[in-house]
């Protein structure tokens, strides 16, 4: 039966997939958060340019700054992963290549987030190098 219907004919009237808006909202919410977190990041960049290793360690030894640092890297990577996903879906047509790049995006993003989070926590909890 469906053999005689075109792809357009089958899709018509069904509406959207009804879950795309989640990524749209997540991108906006993380973007708004990143406006504030970027201000903090710029401040840290200047402080670290001035004070180097010791200054960077002492900033992240503060629980408040460690928490903001974790938020910054993780929300930033989350936002970047959503954006990269959109770019891959827009430009890559081959299903296998697309799937491979989407998986790579997830693995790289989550791995970087885990590495950064553990590193910041290690400094915050005062563990030696």
């Amino acid at each position: 039966m469906s053999l005689y219907r075109s792809g357009l004919g089958r899709a018509r009237g069904l509406g959207s997939a009804k879950h795309g808006v989640g990524a749209f909202i997540a991108e906006r919410v993380s973007g708004v958060a990143l406006i504030l977190l970027t201000i903090w990041l710029v401040w840290v960049a200047v402080a670290v340019a001035r004070g180097g290793y010791a200054e960077a360690r002492s900033i992240l030894a503060s629980p408040v700054h460690a928490a903001i640092a974790i938020l910054t890297v993780d929300v930033g990577l989350y936002h970047a992963m959503i954006g990269m996903r959109v770019i891959v879906e827009d430009y890559i047509e081959k299903p296998l290549t697309k799937a491979a790049l989407l998986i790579l995006n997830a693995l790289v993003g989550w791995a970087a987030a885990a590495i950064a989070t553990v590193s910041i926590l290690k400094i915050a909890f005062g563990a030696g190098a």
Binding site: R28, Y53, I87, A112, A113, A129
Partner: protein, 137 residues
């Protein structure tokens, strides 16, 4: 059926890149994507920095010597431009999401502001960083 071709008929294509007149809002849109990809790399550099910082002075010294080398500084300057541009472009998008700023004059002006802000803010950040670096040592 008269139509011999199976499946869907040829659909019209939207105006493509080649037939578009260049305009600043288009450049800002493209640059927003490009800077987004650049910032992905920027976050990876930052995650690597956090790992180096947690691994002690030797690892940190090696990592920061790469970042403070001339190629490293060029990359970091690019990341700074990308960060400030993407920030400004993101704010433009938030205005658009609320239905504001779509008039061609407004959209064009805000695109120019985003470009100027990105370059000026990145230069100011690097000047401040380099001056304060000199004052400490």
């Amino acid at each position: 059926m008269a139509d011999a071709s199976p499946g869907l008929r040829e659909r019209p294509l939207s105006p493509h890149v080649q037939v578009w007149r260049w305009h600043v809002t288009m450049a800002a849109s493209i640059f927003n994507r490009v800077t987004g990809v650049g910032l992905y790399v920027g976050w990876l550099i930052l995650a690597g920095w956090a790992l180096a910082l947690a691994s002690g002075p030797d690892a940190y010294g090696a990592y920061s010597s790469v970042l403070t080398s001339i190629p490293g500084q060029i990359v970091l300057f690019g990341v700074a431009v990308a960060l400030f541009f993407h920030l400004a472009a993101g704010v433009r998008h938030l205005f658009w999401d609320s239905g504001k700023g779509f008039m061609p004059r407004t959209a064009g002006a805000s695109a120019i502001v985003a470009f100027v802000f990105a370059i000026v803010a990145a230069i100011v950040l690097f000047v401040i960083a380099h001056i304060s670096q000199g004052s400490a040592s």
